[in-house]
């Protein structure tokens, strides 16, 4: 093997990589938060029994889940300015990631909503809650707990999806890596390090998910 490894490129440019990693983490968390809100509303529409709301949510899910994410990103960043909506690379990245994660989480949360027994809903109605309040107070919390593992799987995919946004020059971790690579050609050292940094970011996200589980889903361990 002729190649001599030189990781000094990493040490010399670690600040650049860290700022890319920070943007990746920030975009991920914002997109997941907004996307989860979309997913909860989408699951409400999907289970509402109203054909119009169900149709809207279903069309959204179908379009997003059956088209490439890269095209969705390009459409929002390059396409929407034609309608007068110009977003920064970072804004377009977060918006497109949230819309993408929202479609997947709509279907995951819907499965959770459908796992809640009719008796729970009737108990809420019998107390005097309106349907929407039953959904918010009685259906959604255990529904999210029931599908939490599936949701976290999708969350991790959403974090990894963020590497695509380097294509519109959002300065995320992948962008920082590409930038360094084009200047130093230390591809092995750079992409090896970047892969480890993605791993670290996913671990951070998983740790947050675990803390949320401990805080909000304590009850789940007592269910039969």
């Amino acid at each position: 093997m002729e190649y001599s490894f030189d990781f000094s490129v990493i040490a010399d440019n670690f600040g650049l990589l860290l700022s890319g990693a920070w943007l990746t983490l920030k975009m991920s968390l914002l997109a997941i938060a907004f996307g989860l809100i979309i997913g909860v509303i989408g699951s409400l529409f999907r289970t509402s029994g109203n054909p119009l709301l169900n149709g809207i949510a279903l069309a959204y899910v179908e379009v997003i889940r059956n088209t490439p994410y890269l095209i969705q990103l390009f459409f929002i960043f390059f396409g929407l300015p034609s309608l007068g909506l110009t977003l920064s690379a970072e804004q377009a990245a977060i918006l497109s990631l949230a819309i993408n994660f929202g479609a997947y989480s709509t279907e995951i949360v819907r499965a959770g909503v459908e796992s809640i027994s009719k008796g729970q809903i009737e108990a809420g109605l019998a107390i005097g809650f309106k349907k929407l309040a039953v959904f918010r107070h009685i259906v959604i919390p255990p529904a999210l707990a029931n599908v939490y593992p599936a949701l976290i799987g999708q969350v991790i995919l959403a974090v990894l999806f963020t590497s695509v946004v380097s294509q519109i020059a959002a300065e995320d971790l992948t962008y920082a890596g590409n930038y360094l690579n084009s200047r130093t050609f230390r591809s092995f050292e750079i992409y090896f390090t970047i892969a480890l940094m993605y791993l670290a970011i996913v671990w951070i996200v998983k740790a947050l998910a675990y803390l949320i589980e401990l805080r909000f889903f304590e009850f789940a361990k007592y269910r039969k």
Partner: protein, 261 residues
């Protein structure tokens, strides 16, 4: 609270004749055309304990569920304390606050502690502060004997305990009527008594109750009236003494011979 009237012997007290539930000619058909209620008319007065009995499929659970609008019906009229329940009506939730319901499967909210199961309605629907709602809930949990478990989750309680919490949760809304839909049918035999004891005390406190149950001892002792349904029709509306000791109808004799073994 509305139900804490002076303690009296429920069987002998003179009843307030004011009607709280009035059903007139109630018909219900399911989508597949099964005619489950065939023109039921009855009246429940304030303070009365009425037990609905009948073979399975007779429509008794369906009937009790029409009294808080969980089950829509196609013909007839149901009034709760002077307000008509019609189908998909706006404001049905206001009537439901006045009508507590206890289900066969308890239906406690698994993600909330026992205390929060009881305070959820009062906090969000009656605007009680958390402190006031918790004080009220602890008083109710004390009454049903579950106060020590207030901070546990439903999954940590036995069926009988869960059902007693369900009763406390319904009472927290201070309803005018309590509906019990086979409250002991899903319980292990040794837990039936603890639930019936709570229901008995509630009846003695003057609460208006409509109960679907097969518990003969409870019906004999606590009910003011037994209403017997069969195949969607009201067969008889009579006193427990007459119902159990001198039934006239053949269908009732047959039913009693089955449940009394």
């Amino acid at each position: 609270m509305t139900y804490s009237q002076p303690e009296t012997n429920a069987a002998t007290v003179a009843r307030d004749p004011e009607a709280i539930i009035i059903a007139k000619g109630v018909h219900k058909r399911y989508d597949n055309d099964f005619h489950v209620l065939k023109g039921i008319s009855l009246t429940v007065n304030k303070g009365e304990v009425v037990v609905l009995m009948g073979p399975s499929g007779s429509g008794k659970s369906t009937l009790i569920r029409t009294f808080n609008g969980l089950e829509p019906y196609q013909e007839g009229k149901i009034e709760i304390d002077g307000t008509e329940i019609s189908h998909n009506q706006k404001g049905i939730e206001l009537i439901r606050r006045e009508v507590g319901m206890v289900f066969q499967q308890f239906n406690l909210f698994p993600h909330l502690t026992i205390l929060k199961n009881v305070t959820l309605g009062p906090i969000h629907l009656k605007g009680l502060s958390q402190d006031d709602a918790e004080a009220q809930a602890m008083e109710l949990l004390e009454r049903v004997g579950i106060a020590p478990q207030a901070n546990k989750y439903p999954g940590q309680l036995s069926g009988g305990q869960q059902q007693r919490v369900a009763i406390a949760r319904a009472l927290a809304m201070e309803p005018k009527v309590m509906l019990f839909d086979e409250p002991t049918s899903a319980l292990d035999p040794e837990m039936v008594r603890e639930v019936l004891d709570v229901m008995r005390k509630l009846a003695q406190s003057g609460m208006t109750m409509v109960c679907v149950t097969h518990e003969v001892g409870f019906a004999r002792e606590v009910a003011d009236r037994i209403i017997f349904l069969a195949e969607g029709e009201l067969v008889t509306d009579t006193t427990p003494d007459k119902f159990f000791n001198n039934p006239e109808e053949e269908r009732i004799k047959q039913f009693l011979s089955q449940i009394l073994h």
